[in-house]
Assembly symmetry: C2
Homo-oligomer: 434 residues x 2
């Protein structure tokens, strides 16, 4: 019977989807990656960490020992909250950023992205408002919107979120009868801006949120990957009501899909219920693999190695940008993390330019992906994490040529560039890998 239906209708279920499904943004990350992964293209788009220099022999031996000695435990169902063994070790990681906590207050998640999902699930009804930096992480925006929330960007400058604008925004939204649930922020080496909030600014931001009864959700995947000086104290280090999201994806490796949420006790209980409902328990095998890594591998030394490696790549990118970019292009100077945020001269459209970039064998993420409200059309996120330094330089050179070409077109025709008719893909192309 269904065969007939198949013939007459592409998706039989098209009328059955939930309202939230219509709000899910079709990320073109797959289309972009399909193109950007071609070897001739330098991808400055992806946020994938460079993990190829990990000591795989040591990790392999440790993993084999772990399976031989504890296989029946690490391949079994586990705790909905996550294994105590890894929660205890996570305290050591967070201590590097001044956080003191109890393992009971940690919930393990299937990557930090699931932390975002569970926090939104627990707090947000449709129509609730989430505040975010300008710009903010594309993967978080997608999750927030999938819960039918309204994302409102708060004006930010080089030191982070503007406290006065934050206060005004909260007051305005409340006067409109809206429920403002939390501020989502990446205070260290933000994705995509690369900027870091000063300690004074963090304090002000937390104070404004507390005064307005708005929670603070601090997402901190890059905090330990500082390229200048020591890691800064987290926002959570000074206020135990801050909900903190951590990740092993950048300080070790992302494929295990292990992140965590540190939350006040009552919130933690709700998150565990949500986790049980979502997955029964987060990946057990992965949790033991990472706990073992933290116990038997010089993970602090590995972070130092990562810093050194990423510093070289960042320096290559910043040098090449200042040598090659035409007048009128500006960019951030990140003190850590993975990203540089470019601002093109007025009138250039980063998304319309992308197909020409790919034609010139360089890929990036257009800035509009990092806003829920249409800003960012003349911004670009560049990643210095994955390609080696010489490829980064090549990529920046190619990008500079493309921008120069756009500027020439603009000068001749005195108009905004439009999309070429022949090249449609890749489209919006936010890079999901945080």
């Amino acid at each position: 019977m269904s065969t007939q239906r198949h013939d007459t209708r592409l998706d039989r279920f098209v009328d059955s989807y939930a309202d939230r499904t219509n709000g899910m943004r079709a990320s073109a990350v797959r289309a972009l990656f399909a193109v950007a992964n071609r070897p001739e293209i330098v991808s400055l788009a992806g946020g994938m960490p460079n993990i190829k220099d990990l000591a795989l022999d040591v990790i392999a031996d440790n993993m084999a020992r772990l399976i031989r000695d504890h296989g029946a435990q690490i391949m079994q169902y586990g705790s909905g909250q996550g294994e105590l063994r890894i929660r205890e070790k996570i305290l050591d990681v967070m201590a590097l950023e001044g956080i003191t906590a109890h393992p009971d207050d940690i919930v393990i998640t299937a990557g930090s992205q699931q932390g975002l999902d569970l926090v939104t699930r627990v707090f947000c009804d449709p129509g609730d408002v989430i505040l975010a930096e300008s710009p903010s992480y594309v993967g978080a925006l997608g999750t927030f919107l999938s819960y039918q929330t309204e994302v409102v960007h708060v004006a930010s400058d080089d030191e982070g979120i503007d406290p006065a604008a934050l206060r005004d925004t909260i007051v305005r939204l409340k006067s409109e009868g809206k429920r403002v649930k939390f501020l989502y922020t990446i205070p260290n080496f933000s994705n995509p801006s690369g900027l870091t909030q000063s300690q004074a600014r963090r304090r002000e931001v937390v104070d404004v949120c507390n005064a307005g009864d708005v929670m603070v959700v601090e997402d901190n995947p890059y905090g330990l990957l500082t390229l200048e000086g020591e890691p800064q104290p987290a926002m959570r280090a000074t206020d135990p009501d801050v909900i903190y999201l951590g990740s092993f994806s950048k300080i070790f490796a992302p494929g295990f899909r292990v992140g965590w949420v540190l939350a006040p006790h009552g919130v933690r209980e709700k998150l565990v219920l949500a986790q049980e409902s979502a997955t029964l328990c987060p990946p057990v095998f992965s949790q033991f693999a990472i706990a073992d890594y933290l116990e038997h591998y010089d993970w602090r030394g590995q972070i130092v190695t990562y810093r050194h490696m990423y510093r070289g790549r960042r320096d290559a990118m910043l040098e090449e940008l200042s040598e090659r970019m035409p007048h009128g292009v500006s960019w951030t100077h990140p003190a850590g993390g993975f990203f540089v945020w470019l601002t093109l001269p007025d009138g250039l459209d980063a998304q319309a330019m992308l197909p020409r970039g790919v034609n010139a064998r360089v890929a990036y993420v257009p800035g509009a992906a990092f806003y829920a409200d249409g800003q960012g059309s003349n911004n670009i996120r560049l990643s210095f994490c994955f390609p080696p330094a010489d490829r980064i330089r090549e990529g920046v050179q190619r990008l500079a040529s493309v921008i120069e070409g756009e500027l020439e077109v603009q000068e001749i025709f005195g108009t905004r560039t439009t999309r070429p008719s022949r090249l449609h893909g890749p489209s919006v192309s936010p890079d999901l890998a945080s």
Copy 2:
């Protein structure tokens, strides 16, 4: 500032939670496990598979080789849909139940539980109706309710769902203006009943659903663990519009948290978007570990080994039940899977009896956990999967004594047993491990 708040209020965030959070059921699995895991207690409660006889040396060696040769790939971010390598191998698994499909139609999930979560997320708005067997899997009910849906149980007999009752229920609900989204069913060796739907019944059920424009979601974690004869064709084998949930938790091991959804193309696309929003990508390391297991280990032979082992345990449980249980107690005779479903004589309350069971050093799951509507008060789910046969026999003996004691009390006082005042925990205690 928050310190002051902490002093005066247990959960500062109590007014901030989403409506759905209030609908999250506090499963007492943790409380139960804390008690039931004591070595002196025979737990017939948990649905944990017995994996201790896996060839850990072989798995350890394979895993070490995989990390040495492909570490930088298997520890990296992966596809939101899941890795092609495992999706291709899953076709071999499903072929054992008569399913032909394309790897493009599979989405990998963080355990089959996440498949339930994503399917519900994609299809259900608050107030939508999900139909389920009587009784049905507690973990699914929890997820459905967390999406603020209404679960309606359809009358079922020893052959499965009653097609006439199904038709009547759909007609009645639609006449009430309700949106009935899908039927959730475990056709093979159901959790908790242990019953299997006949092939004729499956066909009727699918036909009734198709006629009523209600999707069928077939959850099949136990189908290959048949203890009598060969595996049956899945519902999906005869109708490609059935949404099929598969799992490695019972045919290999649950700790990897790898399951999958096989869905029609349009639905699959929505599920991938939902997966990216929920986790970016399902556990990559786990997926490669399982793909490697399917390529380098005699996984079909392992399933035969599992069948032999579980058959011995089921036989021990059924024998002991028929020798020990007092008159008036009845139970199912599963041809596969992990579970036997007991019905106590009228007037006995399985949940009220549980503390006396634990006092007698036996644990089980009260039947009410497997209904969303208060049925099941005189039912019990017994698992024969985890303890060895002699412990199962001991557990059944203890349980028989407890039931005899209840019946004596009932005979003397002619009244329903009430809960003892001294022993409160464990409470409802559904066992989340499916």
